[in-house]
């Protein structure tokens, strides 16, 4: 399982790729920051299209292991996360550290591009917003693929889309 609601266990992830043949292990940890675009974040909530996360992560792992002489592991946490919590962890072990670094970097980049996970930020001012590839979803700031790009009548776009806290 690539998705978990439990705190990520980095030691276990590292152990899962290490072996006596693979002496170099590169890893990456993405943790929850306390700020985003100048606003104070108090916590996050990650949600996912879980079955596709499993399939897409398995593809990324298989592609990386075919491309480099590595063993790769990754995990992404969903649900409620606090500041400093690890949201994602990637580990890549190889006999050659160059390949370990390349594979580790590749996996985190592909994960961000391909794996269906979404993040909702809870701000200190009480508002809550979906975050989309580094942008908040709001009427004027959304990029092409963000909600709101379809309508040309700007009166239909709220200045900022405030989402309710989920049930």
């Amino acid at each position: 399982m690539y998705l978990t609601e439990e705190p990520l266990d980095i030691t276990a992830l590292l152990a899962s790729v290490q072996s006596a043949e693979r002496g170099g292990v590169a890893c990456f940890l993405g943790t929850v920051r306390n700020h985003h675009q100048g606003r104070e974040v108090v916590r996050l909530e990650y949600s996912a299209y879980a079955p596709m996360v499993e399939v897409e992560c398995a593809r990324i792992v298989a592609e990386s292991q075919a491309r480099w002489d590595v063993k790769v592991a990754l995990q992404h946490r969903i649900g409620r996360l606090e500041i400093g919590d690890a949201a994602v962890a990637v580990a890549a072990a190889s006999a050659h550290r160059d390949e370990a670094f390349l594979a580790c970097r590749h996996v985190i980049e592909e994960l961000k591009l391909r794996v269906p996970i979404w993040k909702r930020e809870y701000y200190a001012d009480g508002t809550v917003e979906w975050v989309e590839a580094g942008k908040r979803v709001s009427g004027e700031e959304g990029k092409q693929e963000a909600v709101s790009a379809g309508a040309s009548d700007s009166s239909r776009r709220p200045a900022a889309r405030i989402h309710a806290v989920p049930e």
Binding site: Y46, M52, V137, G150
Partner: protein, 88 residues
């Protein structure tokens, strides 16, 4: 030879995150006369309340695989409309 009328197909459409908020639901079954594409399903969604706010080319997946909007749908497909990803 007589032309057989196409049998309508039904696909399940899943919406996530901001798109589910925008449309007000996270799952719906839509029926189409084949051939129907992912783009056709998007057009149908755009005709629903809030659907006009979907972007021109959202990320889409059919049966857990990323697809382009020209991809043909088959009966029983699971079509997911994916807001910009924010994992990691």
């Amino acid at each position: 030879m007589p032309v057989t009328a196409p049998f309508p197909i039904t696909v399940r459409v899943l919406l996530f995150a901001s798109y589910a908020d925008t449309l007000g639901f996270d799952s719906v079954e839509l029926s189409f006369d084949p051939p129907a594409t992912v783009g056709d399903a998007l057009d149908r969604l755009r005709s629903l309340p809030g659907g006009e706010r979907l972007p021109p080319k959202p990320l889409c997946a059919v049966n857990l695989t990323h697809v382009r909007s020209g991809t043909l749908l088959s009966g029983g497909d699971e079509l997911a409309i994916l807001p910009p990803l924010a994992g990691g």
